[in-house]
Amino acid sequence: MNDLSMHVLDIVQNSITAGANLIGIEVIEKIMENTLTICISDNGKGMSPEQLIQVTNPYFTTRTTRKVGLGVPLFKQNAEMSGGSFNIESNMEKGTIVTAVFGYNHLDRPPLGDMANVVVLLVSSNPALDFIYTHRYNEKTYIFDTREVKEVLIPIPVNEPRIIRMLTEMILENCKDMKEGKSN
């Protein structure tokens, strides 16, 4: 995994497999506190306490096509290597919340990467599911909610190539403005 956005792309697949139809992706950059937090929450079927204990074990996977599952362990390793922490909460009825905290300035923290691209790829690949992408930068917040976006776009599907490009631009521009202190 070259950057954190790749981990997000990977971890969200677990939410999709768990049957979630609403997935939250939150990136919180707090420069003063020297933390970068990534939180992925879903309303999928959740995990049992037994599964939850096993989930960071690379030799645990629910799939049958292969015997290893590296997604969660790699994400955890990267968080811990940058002086951060990793936590998963899960409830069989409510869903799962994965939280990874990274040391913002730590040398071993991978760059955030292209989050706009990752969010839009997820949205366009899973048009039936809804995503809420929240990006916080210090005190500012940008929220991209597919429920609003889809309503605006009716009847055009979110996986139409031109729409995909527009949505990427929309997220990129808003996050750029937020970081440069222009709005929000």
Partner: protein, 130 residues
């Protein structure tokens, strides 16, 4: 043109996209579409599946191919990632291995447009050793 930033901007752009879509006689049923599924589990992503997916999206937009690009999980071909399954309407799906952005373009140009087969196809009877 100004950059799209708000939902209002999106609303304004919608009409332009919509009128072009009608020209393409977009059918309601997805059976007329080429289905492109990029394997995006940990193995695929680490091998560069995201760039492959972006390349397919760019290519089908540029060449106006009636196709839907989606993600799929790991099919057990971790050794050949990034893998892509392409299903043309009315045909059996074909899985391509070791795909990169350049190969994504040739899959569209050669296989999707002309039905030519390319190197790197994973045979359907291939079985992973578990």
């Amino acid at each position: 043109m100004d950059k799209i930033k708000s939902l209002d901007d999106l609303r304004k752009m919608k009409q332009a996209v919509q009128s072009q879509l009608n020209l393409r006689e977009r059918g309601e049923n997805s059976e007329n579409y080429v289905q492109i599924k990029v394997a995006m589990a940990t193995c695929g992503i680490a091998a560069g599946a995201r760039e492959v997916m972006n390349a397919f999206l760019r290519k089908i937009e540029d060449d106006k191919i009636l196709a839907i690009v989606t993600q799929t999980g790991c099919m057990g071909y971790c050794h050949s990632e990034p893998t892509v399954e392409v299903k043309k309407p009315g045909e059996e799906p074909i899985i391509f291995g070791h795909v990169d952005a350049k190969k994504a373009d040739s899959i569209v140009d050669k296989y999707i447009k002309n039905g030519e087969l390319l190197e790197g196809i994973i045979p359907v009877n291939y079985q992973t050793i578990v």
